[in-house]
């Protein structure tokens, strides 16, 4: 069974075909990277998967269920977590509170549940997620004052606290230092033991180190798909990146 599948997925902005008829399938447990030149439609594509924007045409299936018309928050409930390309956290709240909101969604999905999960349990789950990404010492820091690298890790911790089936990471290493990237790869590997990871990434070292398979997008279409070794030696991919004739 595939975890996630798209059929003819398209999104047009007026004349621009940002995503143009993409058929895509993701197996449970893999780490998949999506790469492509700037403007290839990568971010638009994952936004369509997470439900942040609506497709112009095509369908999205998650665990063989058609989720095309489903609002974003319900997809999150089904297990699709999304971390933002531009850090998007609650700046005025503490690290713990940030993650607690995510943990609360999983532990206490209804606003007025009859048997509510206690605050202690929510705090415990949030603390655990913070420790998994190495933020265990910064629980009571105000999120907005954290260093950029730590804010990125906080994004991931919020994703983890949802315990998703699919974690979508949109350019997670952008703006991180080499040592932070090292640590980040460790985090992703650990996440991948319990979740499928879909990674948009520009840093090819990270892609090569982490990805089981790579999908290359160009001009809103799938240009190539395969193992890292296959992609490196693919003529069409080289042409798209280097501009040489295919």
């Amino acid at each position: 069974m595939t975890l996630l599948r798209t059929k003819g997925l398209s999104r047009h902005f007026d004349g621009l075909k940002a995503v143009d008829g993409v058929d895509f399938a993701l197996d449970p447990g893999e780490i998949r990277a999506i790469i492509g030149p700037n403007g290839a439609g990568k971010s638009t594509f994952v936004s369509l998967l997470s439900g942040r924007i609506k497709p112009s045409a095509g369908q999205v299936f998650f665990e063989d269920r058609d989720v095309t018309g489903m609002p974003a928050h319900k997809r999150v409930r089904m297990g699709i977590a999304y971390t933002f390309q531009i850090t998007n956290i609650y700046g005025a709240m503490t690290v713990l509170e940030n993650i607690a909101i995510a943990a609360q969604n999983r532990l206490r999905p209804h606003l007025f549940s009859r048997k509510p999960v206690s605050e202690v349990e929510i705090a415990r789950a949030a603390t655990k997620a913070a420790q998994e990404v190495g933020l265990g010492d910064l629980l009571y820091e105000t999120a907005g004052t954290l260093a950029y690298g730590h804010q990125r890790l906080l994004e991931v911790a919020m994703g983890l606290a949802l315990q998703p089936k699919l974690l979508i990471l949109d350019e997670p290493t952008q703006g991180l230092s080499d040592s932070e990237i090292e640590n980040f790869q460790e985090v992703v590997r650990r996440v991948a033991q319990s979740a499928t990871v879909l990674l948009i990434e520009h840093n090819m070292d990270v892609v090569m180190a982490l990805a089981d398979r790579i999908t290359v997008l160009d001009n809103g279409r799938v240009l190539a798909e395969g193992s890292p070794g296959e992609i490196v030696h693919n003529d069409a991919v080289q042409a798209a990146y280097l501009g040489a004739p295919a």
Partner: protein, 319 residues
């Protein structure tokens, strides 16, 4: 390790005890003023629920205050129901109005939300004038003598007695404070603040933010209506001025001065503002100028209000 806010709970308990003690110290005139402050701060606390915690600025909360006021007042005036029943009817009326208005108004955002709430409130205000033969319009209605006292558990409570009024107002204030503490300092309150701080992110963490906002709106309107019902029954008068624009603005002012998004801010803001207006109007008839200058100063230098500023600088738990 816990997320509960013990210090704030302690401060609330101390506040209620001090308020209770004040009636033995203050002259009757100030006890009456404090009674009014307590009721109006319940109004502001309801407003604060929406504006302070959830970040939705409504300009129409007089509509919910008036919904409580009229539902309670008219039912005792025309049907002669006892005061406790009228009070409950007032709360139910405010709940119904805020739920329905919330369903519609929350389809808009930011400035349109302010305008839509204002328009609904103005429509409500004009309705109270339109149906003057029922509501008494501008002149209002004075509740009959037999609606000025009630018996409860074999005790007769007289609504013309200052002591009875003060302690009843304090009781309702305390209950509302306790309810709001439970809501704002728990998981539900965390979601309200999450919507205020970053609504798109909250959606992407799997929450239906419309449902969260509707909950906040309904709780807010119901509490403001509770204040309205209490005010009408306690002082025996209902009139359309309570539904007017100025009443909406006052709730906003009290909240702004005291500190939006702080539990005790509305009480402090209401006390400061009503006492200030009271003193100033004794000195000059142009007291609104002074109030206006004060508001500009607060907005420029203390946009988080008194308690909000204290929270940000020194006491992080004051929320």
């Amino acid at each position: 390790m816990t997320l509960h806010n013990g210090k704030l709970l302690a401060l609330c308990v101390v506040t209620v005890i001090v308020l209770f003690g004040l009636q033995f110290v203050l002259p009757p005139y100030l006890t009456l003023a404090l009674t009014r402050i307590l009721i109006l701060s319940v109004f502001a606390m309801g407003y604060n629920m929406l504006m302070g915690y959830t970040g939705l600025l409504s300009l129409g909360h007089a509509m919910f205050f008036a919904a409580g006021l009229y539902a309670a007042g008219l039912s005792t005036y025309y049907w002669g129901v006892t005061l406790p029943v009228a009070f409950v009817l007032g709360i139910v009326g405010a709940f119904a109005v805020s739920l329905v208005i919330g369903l519609l108004a929350l389809r808009t955002q930011a400035v349109s939300f302010m305008i839509v709430t204002l328009m609904f409130a103005q429509a409500g205000y004009l309705m109270t004038l339109q149906f003057t033969n029922i509501t008494g319009g501008d002149q209002g209605l004075t509740l009959p003598t037999d609606a000025r006292s009630f018996g409860l558990f074999g005790m007769v409570v007289d609504m013309t007695s200052d002591t009875a009024r003060f302690n009843l107002a304090l009781l309702i204030f305390t209950v509302v404070l306790a309810v709001l503490f439970a809501i704002t300092q728990g998981p539900l309150g965390r979601l309200f603040v999450a919507v205020r701080e970053n609504e798109p992110r909250t959606q992407m963490l799997g929450f239906d933010t419309y449902a969260i906002k509707l909950t906040a709106f309904t709780v807010s309107g119901t509490i403001s209506g509770t204040a309205g019902a209490l005010y009408g029954l306690m002082f025996g008068y209902i009139g359309s001025s309570f539904a007017g624009f100025q009443n909406s603005i006052e709730a906003l002012l009290y909240t702004l001065i005291g500190g939006p998004g702080t539990l005790l801010g509305p009480l402090l803001g209401t006390a400061v503002m009503t006492m200030l207006i009271d003193r100033l109007s004794g000195i000059t008839t142009a007291y609104l100028i002074v109030i206006g200058v004060l508001l500009i100063v607060v907005n420029l230098w203390f946009p988080k209000g008194i308690l909000g500023t204290i929270r940000d600088r020194w006491l992080g738990w004051l929320k």
